[in-house]
């Protein structure tokens, strides 16, 4: 015991995170991209839907797009919508999915069986189809409708993963010990089970965010955006893809932004997952 008494006390999770290169790098880049999305519109040389010249011209840094709008300005305006919708949708999907998965795993028995079979039915639909079914019924969907739809389409996939992770934890003795003490079921889930799932769940969240951006972009392509005229990284790729050979920047610029953002968020999630895993063993 003397040896441990001399050892320095545990640094907090935040302190440890700040020492991890992977996390720090991902975190910094994520912040930069978010800052760009928020503040860049203030400095954009042209307005969001302002025409700057002929289509696919070389004017400005990145040239113009299919209707002659300045690509740089569109890029600067187009971050907010995509990021906000996909981050919110991911959060919603994660919360719903974790809830379903953990309750099913912890409840066990017929509850688990019924919940997971219903979940399987939802899983059978391609992710984008669920959203399309509702969106075709609405003429001009509000942004929150898209958030809810994408979030809901993530939920069954997240539920599968979190149920798998939770199954390995609910059978451990410390959960049984909490049961034996007569802890409330909700507290067992929140205080005993969830904290031990952080690692895999963060990795899943990173992956889901990438998917969200993809789905938002795809919906935009199909004409289901909150505002069809507004700039949006996802939509930009689809609008300009025909001119890829003549004006590659109109597509490449938003692609690069999305790539940088997803890589950064995934690095961040990965770093956190590694950190939270290290304490175990």
């Amino acid at each position: 015991m003397s040896t441990t008494a001399n050892a320095p006390s545990t640094p907090s999770f935040g302190e440890r995170a700040m020492k991890q290169k992977r996390f720090v790098f991902g975190f910094t880049v994520t912040l930069l991209v978010i800052a760009f999305a928020i503040f860049a519109p203030l400095f954009a040389p042209y307005g969001e839907e302002q025409t700057a010249g002929p289509p696919y011209a070389k004017n400005g840094l990145f040239g113009t797009d299919y209707v002659g709008q300045d690509v740089l300005s569109r890029l600067m305006h187009g971050g907010q919508g995509v990021l906000l919708i996909s981050v919110l949708a991911t959060l919603l999907g994660m919360v719903l999915g974790i809830l379903i998965g953990v309750v099913a795993a912890y409840g066990g028995g017929w509850l688990d069986e019924v919940m997971m079979r219903l979940n399987d039915v939802l899983l059978a639909f391609p992710q984008i189809l669920l959203a399309l079914v509702v969106l075709t019924a609405l003429s001009n969907p509000a942004a929150w409708v898209i958030v809810v739809l994408i979030g809901a389409s993530h939920a069954p996939r997240v539920a599968r993963v979190s149920r798998g992770v939770a199954l390995g934890i609910v059978s451990r003795d410390f959960v049984v010990a909490a049961e034996a003490l007569g802890e409330k079921r909700s507290r067992v889930i929140v205080a005993e089970v969830l904290p031990n799932m952080i690692g895999p769940l963060l990795a899943e969240a990173g992956l889901r965010l990438t998917y969200s951006i993809g789905v938002v972009a795809a919906l935009g392509f199909l004409g289901f955006a909150a505002d069809p005229g507004a700039a949006n990284w996802g939509q930009m790729m689809n609008e300009n893809r025909l001119g890829l050979a003549t004006q590659p920047w109109a597509v490449l610029a938003p692609v690069l932004m999305i790539a940088i953002f997803t890589i950064a968020t995934n690095l961040m999630a990965d770093g956190l997952a590694q950190l939270s895993q290290r304490g175990d063993s």
Partner: protein, 601 residues
Amino acid sequence: MTATTRDVQQTPTPSGGLVIEDLGVTLTGRPVDVVDDIDLVLRPGEVVGLVGESGSGKTTVGTSLLAYSRAGALISSGKVLLEGRDVLKLPWREVRQLRGEEIAYVPQDPASALNPSIRIGKQLVELQELRGIGTAESRLQAAREGLTEVGLPNDTEFLRRYAHQLSGGQVQRVALAMSFLPKPKVLVLDEPTTGLDVTTQKMVLDTMAQLCRDHGVSALYVTHDLAVVANIADRVAVMYAGQIAELGPKDTIFANPSHPYTRALLDSIPHLSQARDVKGIPGRTPAPGMRPGGCRFNDRCAHAIDECRQQVPPLITVAPDHEVRCIRVDEIGTWDIQRGTIPDADPDRKRDIILSVEGLDIFYGRKQIVHDVTFDLAKGEVVALVGESGSGKTTISRSVGGLHKDWTGTVAFEGRELANSARKRSAEDRRRIQYIFQNPYLSLNPRLTIEQIIKRPMELFGIAKGKQATDRVLELMEQVALGSAMLRYQASRLSGGERQRVAIARALAAEPDVMICDEITSALDVSVQGSIVALLEGLRKQRGISMIFVTHNLALVRSIAARVQILQEGRVVEAGSVVEVMERPREEYTRKLLSDSPRIA
């Protein structure tokens, strides 16, 4: 018999067997010794026991014999001589050849050594194909013979089984058969019986000893349990913190242990023949890089003087074949194996029943596991439930504790019947009966701090909260001998023994009247077991807590319990006071359990 053959073969320059000279293993990257200065000779046909606590480097020495070190460590110096060849200097192709064929290894967990998707027979045949032994026709025959040798059935049905269709003892014997098939000269066994119950352990040990004798194989038997070594080894090497502390013939080690560490280890072992005031060794084995200067045992040694802290003592030869690494070996007096024995628990003590179990039948689904079990527990008394694995002892304790709810019968606490599951019992009943789990690595939430873990029952049962609760936590931690510095540690930073103390403190935080202890020491080193047992005994005396103590270790029962229930296949076969049952067992099964248990004195 072994003694005579050894005398004949023993020559000044050892030709057979294995010689380890000045072996050292360091961590890669940091100049930190894992083990150093290991000199050991395995004579042909001899079994050498290598004993130490976890973290002493005993497994590292064991695998070094096969020129293997785990990732992050490196064999940095020394020689391992097999018939004059240095195993550590051989090119890797030859080392590969040598592993298994000349030096075989039996791992701690045999289940992970057998391929779960290949049938037993196929694995035995495949091994011979790989080693180029025999012909296509003879291999199956050899596999059958190998199984016969280890006392397993050799019919086609058995050969067609998968590893998961065998019991733990059978798997371990298949692993033994596999290691003997290529007819190795040296065998390294790494705690092969840890986790097996006494009957199976005895069977595996006997098989191993027989095979070594028949084939003239030298064996290094790595274990933390001196009691096991007492039954099979010819010589014993006691390791501490990466060095050999004492080396000598088995009888010398047990009759005249000369290193304070060896004595402390022996003090922590319960005896089968008499109750004993077992003690642990204070502190814990220092990890590589944290070891003190001078004699490495100096910070835990009762005899340490300033000189002990100055330089690492050399191994001193105190008698032929008997070496000790202690500079005070002549000053610390003699030792007696009977030291610390105490009178057995009084069988005629007046009993004031607090918990009674009547006609308990327990089911898993449709299958009945436990049949009509009846026993009771008095205030301030320890009742032991003893049996092999699968005898239902843990199932009974879980049902009484309300963790398993599929049972019928009566469990009455102070005359009131208890509900089947803990959730249906009153908060007061839940508080007064506390359960402690077998594996402290699973029973504490790795995310929570020690403070949060111990405080929770107090908050839940309204015993204390806030600052007052923290003070209580510190008090409890002191009682279970944990330093207050650990208050904010996460459970994942503690060793097994420390975790089990936290689990005990958590149980005590609820101020219980009954504690159900489910094999709480079986995952721990014997020295740690000693200190846990001493702790429980203190609690019983001071607070009058009653305990149901589940175990397969009869020697432990003798030292801790007053009454015992012997279980076999879910039924009580014999019950009564510990002295009565252990001195005059009436049932054949009890006698067998007693004779299978390893004995020291």
